[in-house]
């Protein structure tokens, strides 16, 4: 259980770090920030950021998953779930 908690935190930290590079210097974001409203990013920039996350974690994040995402924490959770799914798929192959 502890190990999973640690992994979650690492994903959250990495998502926050990568997103932090995208937004203007004056803004502060945390896991409760809204991915669109609190970042100042337009819809295209959010989709571009998702492409970066796909490469960073070597996963596929379908765009409909993004529609369900509200906060940065939700986004990190989605990345975490898709990363685990990927690992499970590879093990089964």
């Amino acid at each position: 259980m502890n190990m999973i908690m640690e992994q979650d935190t690492a994903t959250q930290a990495r998502v926050l770090e990568l997103l932090g590079r995208k937004i203007s210097a004056g803004r502060r974001i945390d896991l409760s920030s809204n991915v669109v409203e609190d970042t100042g990013l337009d819809s295209v920039s959010v989709m571009d950021f998702v492409m970066e996350l796909e490469d960073e974690f070597d996963i596929t994040i379908p765009l409909d998953r993004i529609a369900e995402v509200g906060t940065v924490g939700d986004l990190a959770d989605a990345v975490e779930v898709l990363s685990r799914k990927r690992v499970a798929t590879h093990r089964n192959q």
Binding site: D42, V44, M51, T60, L63
Partner: protein, 410 residues
Amino acid sequence: MGIKQRASSIRSAYGALQALGRDPTSLKFDRIVSPTRAILGNEPMMLFGTNNYLGLTFDQHCIDTAIDAIREFGAGTTGSRIANGTYEEHRALEAEIAVFYNKRATILYSTGYLANLGVISALAEKGDYLLIDADSHASIYDACKMSDAEIIRFRHNNPEDLAKRLARLEGMPGDKIIVVEGIYSMLGDSAPLAEIAAVKRAAGDNVYLLVDEAHSLGVMGKSGRGKCQEDDVEDDCDYIVGTFSKSVGTTGGYCVSNVEGFECLRSYSRPYMFTASLTPPTVATARAAFRRMAESPELRERLWKNSNRLYNGLAQLGFDLGPEVSPVVAVKLADPQTAVTLWNLLIDAGVYTNIAIPPATPNALSLLRVSVSAAHDDEQISSALEIFAEAGRQLGLISYGVNMATSRVA
């Protein structure tokens, strides 16, 4: 966000730009004189912001056949293709487009937007994957919203990035449909279709390629079929979508394909089934225009001569342009305010261009989208370049003096 809040947010976003002069979203032409001339207010305007690549909107034969058709078949069909809206003329146009492309079948749609919506949403179902170029047109994004498939974007015009994303789907069930455009409407750059087709072939079975040739039909390829023909990959392009609203000079859309069972879309593609079919004069215009495109390669030659002249002329003046010579010449500007100010100055001097600002543009670019027609004459292009030079100098966008600039491009 509620209706009232959204209206207020839109007003505040666009209000500042409208304050710089004309409202780009509600400009009205009082008269259209020719494919390249119009009257705006009381002022004559040279049109450098259309999609009239071959200048066929005023082609005499297109106009005459449209008038004959409206007399013979009436002004509209008042029905969809699956009800009372299929006439002999619709079937004839579908057959002629199939012959033009040397493909098995064509399905007509009432606009190019609906063609993308109808084809993409019908082909890709739940469990399938749509892999779309990140710079895709809004109609492709909207089609994705309408589809139950999983949507994956790949980096613009980047076959390696597409290959990487396809590799992540290896072993996953479901069809994978790659969606790209021949020429991209905002920057005028074209897709590396030979490389994209190679990625598709390497990805194995159940991987399909759809190419939207909206801006490349009549513009590229030995007989004007588009970028698929130019790059000699027509057999790899499973679905080719196009529009009548650019080179063809009217309105309407279509998809051609050799894929077995393609025409079944007529029974489940909702944008085909639940909208009125193309009007008889529109169908007649499209039939005449396709014939004209095939018979008049000199229109394409003229278009490229004009494109080269305008692109190179603007480049020599010092404007920052899109990556390649094309009938769509994108002038990149620092921000929406600069774009709107330049756009207003050009109109003041008699040159109409399109304005394109985020989020309708890739990479948050602010652009003037300048487009060329085969119908532009040499004098119009010289005159447009002089007006660009003067306006660009006035705004401090280019460093050349106007005399030097015009002498360089004369």
